[in-house]
């Protein structure tokens, strides 16, 4: 599809997410509202982009796991919790709010796709 057939939206408009913690590592699931959108997530929400998004918090590595049958992605982000629940000085020691930081990423979707808000 050409550029003019695409529009920018936030991930929040097409997917939902939940964060969990283990030590200084966070995992964030990313689940499309519609299975048809899974391909867009696969193409555009890369390990590199997610690492960049969390670099300000010290993230050192991102591994993305694919679960095509759900469908969903699972991002495992190392060293992003400023020490984790035992020692982080961040108010959110578990990094529970980070799922909605992931959902701020912008992605391009076909203009014909119905979503609630556009950037």
């Amino acid at each position: 599809m050409t550029q003019e057939h695409m529009k920018k939206v936030r991930l929040h408009d097409i997917a939902h997410a939940r964060a969990g913690d283990k030590g200084n590592r966070s995992n964030i699931s990313l689940i499309p509202y519609s299975a048809a959108t899974y391909e867009i997530l696969l193409e555009q929400v890369t390990e590199k982009r997610v690492l960049e998004l969390f670099s300000n918090k010290g993230a050192s590595k991102v591994v993305r796991y694919e679960l095509p049958n759900l469908p969903a992605l699972n991002f495992v982000i190392d060293d992003v919790l400023e020490g984790g629940v035992n020692s982080a000085l961040n108010l959110d020691q578990h990094g529970k709010t980070l799922s909605f930081l992931l959902l701020t990423l912008s992605v391009e979707v076909p203009v014909t796709m119905t979503i609630k808000n556009t950037v």
Partner: protein, 458 residues
């Protein structure tokens, strides 16, 4: 006779969960045919260390502080309708918890109730403190000479199944894997063998979905306009229906709020999962990478496709050591030019903290600008535009082993009342006793879980 379906409900997903959530779960289970169980998961990684500290102060304590709040409203109903209770609220003192439950049972007239205790999770009983301190940790943290406050192995489902097979009405565990609370009853009812990896995987997945209570039934999920949840204030806690062919349905207590949908189940399925093909537990390595979810009715979701691999030869243990102190203090600035006053306050604090000459890390936040999403001491006011007028709250946080230094940092925030920018108000502070944890792997042959009944001690 092997039952066709086992019903397992969850009454609490963490220590501090709603104390009345289990009541509708028990009422729903009571109406069900076949074996029925109610589990309570109340033991986070660090909770056990705190419990151990309580036990040192008073040997009769050290179990879940909410035990009575959870148990009293449902115990009689469960006992009279054949709902067995399985929980890790034993924490550092399963026997103490069992005695408390027995006392409550007596008061409620539950005669001859059988309360079992699963022990053997306390690693300090089989390994010396020194050996634990020298053991390599998964996180790479050196335990060194730090005193070991608690060290507990995550036990599996087998001892829970044994306790139930020996007639327990209530099973109290200290540390076990969270899914074992659900897998234990299933192993007992279906007689799954120790190498029945596929069924053990399904049972573990059921446990994983239930262990956080409302997190699978619409709680921790709602996002108005995007993911709406009916009557979140009365969210119903989950019930798993597991059939002897290994099929699994997630539903929830009758006459409650919340919802069970494909979306709620997916979010919880991946919660705290790293590699979906390799979720290690004491009983099986669970593989959820090919799992499917299907809505099969109102608030009913079928979950299928769990696969299992041979359980690991090691068991995970959490070691807790003293983590020093954390200090946190806050102050608000609001109205015209509030952001500038908040920034000035932080400049003052930074200058004052330099004079304290500590190497402890110190973090500064302006809540109202980016805070939880920003890194330690990342100043986003340079990169983002926030209004000068507003309602901002500044925060300082530090940690260290020297309590006086930590208190001194808090004190600097307090002193802003008379010595800071105009109109700072609403000072609050916390000083928290910290626990540091590390994980180690222990040869499973070293660990021998034991099942006792409270009557054994009589």
């Amino acid at each position: 006779m092997v039952p066709s379906v086992v019903n397992i409900g969850c009454g609490a997903g963490f220590s501090g969960d709603r104390v009345d959530a289990a009541i509708p779960v028990a009422e729903t289970l009571a109406k069900r045919e076949g074996p029925k169980y109610l589990i309570f998961e109340t033991l986070a990684e660090r909770t056990l260390a705190l419990a151990q500290k309580h036990r040192r102060k008073d040997p009769t304590h050290g179990y879940s502080p909410f035990l009575e709040d959870y148990i009293r409203p449902i115990l009689k109903k469960c006992y009279e309708t054949g709902i067995k209770i399985v929980s890790n609220f034993g924490a550092a003192n399963p026997k103490g918890a069992a005695m408390k439950i027995s006392e409550i049972a007596d008061q409620l007239g539950c005669k001859n109730i059988k309360i079992a205790i699963v022990e053997g999770d306390d690693l300090l009983q089989v390994m010396s403190s020194r050996d634990i301190q020298n053991h390599p940790t998964i996180e790479g943290l050196e335990i060194g000479d730090n005193e070991v406050i608690a060290a507990n192995v995550y036990l599996g489902a087998r001892p829970i199944a044994e306790a139930l097979s020996r007639g327990a009405d209530v099973v109290v565990v200290g540390r076990c894997t969270d899914p074992a609370l659900v897998l234990g009853p299933l192993v007992k009812e279906f007689g799954w063998s120790e190498d029945d990896w596929i069924n053990l995987a399904t049972g573990t997945m059921a446990g994983h979905l239930l262990e956080c209570g409302g997190q699978v039934t619409g709680a921790y999920f709602a996002d108005p306009g995007y993911k709406d949840v009916p009557d979140l204030a009365n969210v119903g806690f989950p019930i798993a229906e597991v059939a002897n062919d290994g099929s699994l349905i997630i539903t929830k207590a009758d006459n409650t709020g919340g919802l069970v949908s494909a979306q709620t189940v997916k979010e919880q399925l991946l919660y705290e999962i790293h590699d979906p093909e390799n979720y290690f537990t004491a009983d099986v390595i669970l593989d959820i990478s090919k799992v499917r979810v299907l809505e099969v009715g109102p608030d009913r979701v079928k979950v299928s496709g769990a696969r299992g691999k041979q359980r690991p030869g090691t068991l995970k243990a959490t070691v807790s050591i003293d983590g020093g102190w954390m200090g946190e203090a806050e102050m608000s600035y609001a109205g015209p030019n509030a952001l500038k006053r908040a920034q000035l306050a932080i400049d003052v604090l930074k200058s004052r903290c330099r004079d304290i000459k500590t190497n402890n890390p110190i973090r500064f936040d302006i809540v109202g600008t980016m805070s939880v999403h920003s890194g330690d001491n990342e100043d986003t006011t340079n990169t983002h535009k926030y209004p000068d007028d507003g309602d901002y709250r500044i925060r300082i946080a530090t940690c260290g082993h020297d309590k006086e230094i930590v208190e001194r940092v808090n004190q600097e925030m307090l002193s802003l009342y008379c010595s800071g920018p105009a109109a700072g108000g609403g000072f609050r502070q916390h000083l928290t006793d910290q626990v540091q944890t590390a994980s180690i792997l222990v040869d499973r042959n070293k660990i021998v879980p034991k099942v006792h009944f409270l009557t054994d001690y009589a």
